[in-house]
Subunit: 115 residues, 4 copies
């Protein structure tokens, strides 16, 4: 199975359909749930130093992987409910960022990060 967002989208569609959960999955609710999952992810890092965050113990790393998955699944589900092509949006955003932050101008200066 090719590891694509389409595969995940279809699996989530079937999952919700089998449980009759589409009615809970309004964009408003999914956006809230996504935000909550992102915070659960952040919780693992909130008291760590930046260096510590680069070297998680294996148990924490496994928990973080599950939180990352939760964020992705709500993200894919929300995009699907809105009829938005998530991969196309992401590709367009990378292209926009490349125009906004030209490598030869921002390299080493970290302009974005020193506002």
């Amino acid at each position: 199975m090719e590891p694509s967002l389409t595969t995940l989208r279809d699996a989530l569609r079937q999952f919700a359909a089998e449980r009759d959960w589409d009615r809970f999955h309004t964009p408003k609710n999914l956006a809230a749930a996504l935000s909550v999952e992102a915070a659960e992810l952040l919780e693992h890092f909130q008291w760590l130093t930046e260096d510590e965050s680069r070297a998680l113990p294996p148990g924490t790393k496994a928990e973080v992987a599950t939180e990352l998955a939760d964020v992705l699944l709500y993200l894919v589900r929300l995009a699907d409910q809105l009829g938005i092509d998530l991969h196309a949006a992401a590709t367009a955003k990378i292209a926009a960022n490349e125009r906004k932050y030209p490598a030869d101008q921002v390299r080493g200066s970290a302009r974005k990060y020193n506002r």
Copy 2:
């Protein structure tokens, strides 16, 4: 180009390398940035009714698509910095949810949602 998470991961690696931005992209910082982007997404929905959230005006939908992209890009970047296979984690989580919420038991009862 196959629309895969691997493609996005590689594009983001190159983007950060060309700008020397890896040093800002610690997992702690990326987790915070991801949470901030998820909230910017939620902001579009916070005063809407659930029905309104299903029928966004085109302008809002385009803005929401960009916010979805921002969340995905930080998510892919964070998983990469942590050495986590995002697609594998998501697939494992779907399988875990299927075991946790058997369709024949939760269908129509919405057990999860009436805690």
Copy 3:
């Protein structure tokens, strides 16, 4: 004891000092912790309808009260670490909002909410 923000601020100062926890309470970390607590609060509401959110069962209401407290405590602590007068900032913001949204112009039109 007068129920003031000053009272809470002083209690939190003493609490952190007695445990030598000031070093963890950097503004960056406290801002992350505040955001995490706000999401834990939101989690209670994410699948509820707006009407349901107005009529929480007593057990949920007690849990929500604790989450509200967590948000307030991190907020007071963060303001203190930054040397910001929280009550003065809030009073100034109410005044700014009164100028931004004149009652006679926005009444019934909900301009803010129909962007």
Copy 4:
């Protein structure tokens, strides 16, 4: 005017009543708005080092003060809509934390932070 949460609560009640905005201020919506404001606060800190976060430039500090105010105002409003005494909840939580983290046992060990 004594700087109390009660003063802020009453000012916000009047503000909403004068604009007929109570109908937007359901607990579900206010919890989402609170979470969004907390993230806007976090955004100021996301790329800073912990040391940098302790020494904000004056302009940033003023912006942060406004974000702190936004969080407090939504928090006070949400507690009011739910009929929760915010100050009492915060005082109870401090007492609970004192029991949970006895100073003589956690001092210097930072047990909470080294899970």
